[in-house]
Symmetry: C3
Subunit: 261 residues, 3 copies
């Protein structure tokens, strides 16, 4: 784990992060990607996703506003990413809320080799069959301990499970790391979960491993969230500050303030 070094590489190499994501947050995840220092590209047409992902440093699939044509494109892009060795992040937004979301997320996990699954506790619990309460796309909490959930998900799904919440937990099924950065205001605007998935894609493009990249991304996004909260008067100004904070985040600051255990 060397978050500062990864951030330095990311800004030097400016990897292209191909995102097939939902309509609500496209602008937000593109701007978060740019603010951090990578290059976002949004492309969802079956006609071009396989070609586009060939240039990418990572692929981020997000099921927040699904429809059949987009699911086809996600599967096609995911398979090509696997062939080319491009790491894939899956954000199973709202899984558990409807059968369509649950089936789609499971199908992607079946047909695509997902490097990192980034979700909230309710979403991840749904995918490992643990009881969870979803209200739309919001997790109302899941039974049990978050560290155990991350480990169980990593083991059962063969992914790095990145479970975000008041404290985040990342596990490959054996190791579990807790990241205690962030601010409650991150829950006051839409799309911060999606941003953390996009940023996970950014770090995967440069990190030593999927596990390291997932941890480093949550530390970076958490520290930026803390900085954004300082002068925020509410969710609007917090949202603005968040981009400023991502752009201002320095490697040394990140290493010094990351609360990873």
């Amino acid at each position: 784990m060397n978050a500062g070094e990864s951030l330095r590489k990311l800004r030097e190499r400016k990897p292209l992060i191909h995102q097939i994501t939902n309509y609500v947050v496209m602008n937000e995840t593109a701007n978060a990607t740019l603010a951090l220092g990578a290059l976002p590209v949004m492309a969802h047409a079956r006609e071009e996703v396989e070609e586009m992902v060939g240039f990418a440093g990572a692929l981020v699939l997000n099921i927040g506003t699904l429809s059949p044509a987009w699911v086809d494109a996600m599967l096609a892009a995911g398979r090509t990413a696997n062939e080319r060795g491009v790491p894939v992040v899956l954000d199973p937004v709202g899984v558990g809320a409807t059968r369509y979301r649950t089936e789609t997320a499971k199908r992607i996990l079946d047909e695509v080799d997902v490097a990192v699954l980034r979700g909230n506790a309710g979403e991840v619990a749904t995918l490992v069959g643990v009881a969870a309460e979803m209200r739309g796309v919001e997790s109302m909490g899941a039974g049990g301990d978050a560290a155990d959930l991350a480990r169980a998900a990593g083991r059962a799904l063969g992914v790095v499970a990145s479970v975000t919440g008041p404290v985040d937990h990342v596990s490959d099924g054996e190791r579990v790391v807790a990241i205690a950065n962030g601010d409650p205001m991150l829950a006051s605007i839409t799309g911060t979960g999606c941003m953390s998935s996009a940023i996970t894609g950014c770090f995967l493009a440069v990190a030593d491993s999927s596990f390291d990249g997932a941890v480093e991304a949550l530390a970076a996004f958490g520290v930026a969230g803390e900085d954004a909260a300082v002068d925020a008067k509410g969710p609007g100004s917090f949202h603005v500050n968040l981009y400023d904070a991502l752009a201002a985040l320095g490697p040394a600051t990140l290493d010094g303030r990351a609360r990873v255990s």
Copy 2:
């Protein structure tokens, strides 16, 4: 009418507000919903809308960027909402500008029991057959008096008509209430009409009646607009302030400043 009490309930219960809305404002209406204190969910696939609306406190249909698959989903979601007793808000964005919008809005009004129709004077006038001038999705004014228009719409369409403008008017076809809150800067950014519809959905989920909810929502959004204008240097900073103001709005402030007559 008890706007403060409804706001208190809304923050306590955090109802899910299912929105099938346009691409331009999805992020904005989701963030306005969150800032006020409810939970937004955007889902538009025919495969999941009926299941999703079953969890919702209100359904908001907005025709701002139409296409056939979305119209089908709106009708399916609307019918299910009616079966489950979930109140439906219709925002007929740009109706009158093209036949496709006019026909779609009329079809939704025919096939779905709409609780509140929230539009500008030109849009509402179009739907009741009164002469109106539309320029794209902007109303250039409608003939006659806004209070009369609201009453005529309420009567002709069997809805609570919520007609926004410099002064807003809400009518169920008999009673007419005027809401004199708001600020001219609300017209300087896109999506404020759509936000007022989303917020109408939020209040419908907790108010004593559709009429009360429609009035309370416009008072709340208007007071937030006034607060947002105070330090705004232009449309960009007004937009940011608007989310801060929605989040900061307290029940007592809302009751004290609502200008409803």
Copy 3:
């Protein structure tokens, strides 16, 4: 060239700018259009684009997030715009990155009489067959001189070529004008290229010629970018300031600060 006079006319006449654009920037280009003083309308359904464009002062086609139904709508709207004398702006976002984008941009240029082609150097170079390096939708530079590229594109494609970069160049194939306004922070957020295309549409609706409109638009957007950078702490606050600056831009200021040669 009389940028101030065009800005004055634009605010007086409030032309409708019909935009068929990408999901990432729709809100941003709509708000930039409004902030400047024109009226945006986003409509992409095959069922309504021909009718909608009939009311428009300009049509902006942007291929940033393509799919077949959208391409059909762009072609239909473009042809109708040509019949009605409505000027068309094409923004070939990411052309060169995938065959689908390249073929679509060429097809639009073949089937629609495009008044202004607004792109970065890599995009424009791709369309005239000059070597260029694209990374997703970002230009990594093109061989040769930007003024020569603009002239070559104007000549080869029969358009006014508007090539943006550190210094912008506009050419009709004979004349070449350089616009030296702007700020490096414009590259720190997504959608500023798309905004410059939308603003080109705004100016085309009122300018004496497509050439003049293209130049005036880049001067106006560049001056607003300079103002937005003054107090910006990063990309988030720059983004907010940009809308404030567009709205605050006065005709005399624009004429005084435009660096056109």
